[in-house]
Amino acid sequence: MSEENKFEPKIVAFLCNWCTYAGADLAGTGRKQYQANVRVIKLPCTGGIDPLFLIKAFERGADGILVSGCHPGDCHYNSGNYHARRRWNVFRPLLEFCGINPERIQFSWVSAAEGGKWVETINGVIDSIRALGPFEGYQKINTMGPMVSSESANQ
């Protein structure tokens, strides 16, 4: 593959406002470099992340997703991350059961002080998705096809 055709993954990161987002900010102020493949979406709490957000990200062309929030015990709202953790515990295996590689949805706890961990985590996610390649399965079902009959688009 030539240099300009090299696959660059699209990563969507859903970050908690109180910790990981601030952590990523800290990495920025500390002038720490990380790969530019990530689009960050800031949310008040990981507890407010509906799994549909993650499905939507795939529908819109994400190759991989990172969800990151406060360490257990540190939630700004006391228990949001605990509830989130429960959900991921069942949602992740469900997607895996449907044939979605669990590597494509990753989770982490990164606090506001952990600029270094943020860089390490997001670089890790990007590298692993780059290794997996584009999420072709989902991209294929993302479109209704070109402007011809639905029948021939299916072929």
Binding site: P51, L52, R85, N89, F97
Partner: protein, 281 residues
């Protein structure tokens, strides 16, 4: 057993303990039964009980048309009775809102429904009156209970994806799966919310994947494995495999089985500080 059922039903209606009996009646063919709503004591002979009584009649607790008939007594099998426990826990009904006519059951369907193959609830765990000889509820191992999904778990990532894409492609978005589900009781389903449109209502591969995954996920830690979604699917999609997978994960991670114990906290409405987090960096 049918006689005992009819007698009890008549008594309940005569004494005005309840206004209506949700039960099983004869269906279009001998291999089918249908839900019947008996409001007059003289009609109790329309009630029946046989191996074709597959329906989970508790779904009518969410239907305003049935609720209009007044306080119900519901004929429930062991599996169906679990729904009532979940509905009470989720504050959808109060225990005193329903009279539970529990029936003991040795399996339904011809051929026998998959749910019956690893049944550990022949006798309901909750009832006001039990019809039929008590059958001992034998313990069934975790492995045996979820044996059905094992072969699918073993598939490669690619095969899993292809299998489910093929299944979901058949979906016609008739929503029979969620309409029949006694625990899909939202007044307005997420798929009907269109500002923003989270789930495409179209029956194309994208909309079918997000719908079927979301339907199953919304039952995580709640599904009591009555298998009604799968039974009613006109496209024959094995929907209960998804429900079962979620039930397995819920039990494995949180030691919780929906509808088994009225004192258990709902799995998805609570947490433990030491919940599994092996997968979180």
């Amino acid at each position: 057993m049918i006689e005992a059922l009819r007698k009890k039903a008549e008594e309940l209606l005569r004494s005005k303990t309840v206004d209506v009996i949700y039960g099983y009646g004869e269906g279009s063919t001998p291999e089918r039964t249908r839900p019947v709503f008996i409001t007059k004591p003289e009609d109790v002979n329309k009630l029946t009980w046989n191996k074709y009584c597959v329906y989970n009649l508790t779904t009518y607790l969410k239907r305003q048309e049935a609720r209009k008939l007044g306080k119900p007594a519901i004929v429930v099998k062991g599996c169906d009775a679990k729904t009532i426990i979940v509905l009470i826990k989720e504050s959808q009904i109060k225990r005193e809102d329903v009279y539970i006519l529990g029936v003991t059951c040795n399996g339904v369907g011809e051929p026998q429904a998959t749910k019956c193959k690893a049944c550990d609830i022949h006798t309901p765990r909750i009832y006001d009156e039990l019809i039929g000889e008590k059958i001992e509820n034998k313990e069934i191992s975790f492995e045996e209970r979820y044996a059905e999904i094992e072969e699918y778990e073993k598939l490669s990532e690619k095969d899993k994806w292809e299998f489910w894409q093929k299944q979901f492609a058949k979906c016609i978005k008739c929503y029979a799966c969620s309409s029949i589900c006694p625990l899909c009781f939202c007044d307005r389903c997420i798929v009907d919310k269109n500002q923003p449109q989270w789930i495409d209502p179209s029956a194309h591969p994208r909309g079918n994947l997000s719908w079927n995954v979301t339907r199953a996920y919304h039952l995580a830690g709640r599904c009591i494995n009555c298998e009604e979604c799968q039974r009613v699917c006109p496209a024959d999609i094995p929907l209960n495999l998804l429900n079962k997978k979620l039930a397995k994960e819920t039990e494995k991670n949180f030691k919780y089985r929906a509808g088994y114990n009225i004192d258990d906290e709902l799995a998805m409405a609570t947490y433990k500080e030491d919940d599994n987090q092996d997968f979180i960096k």
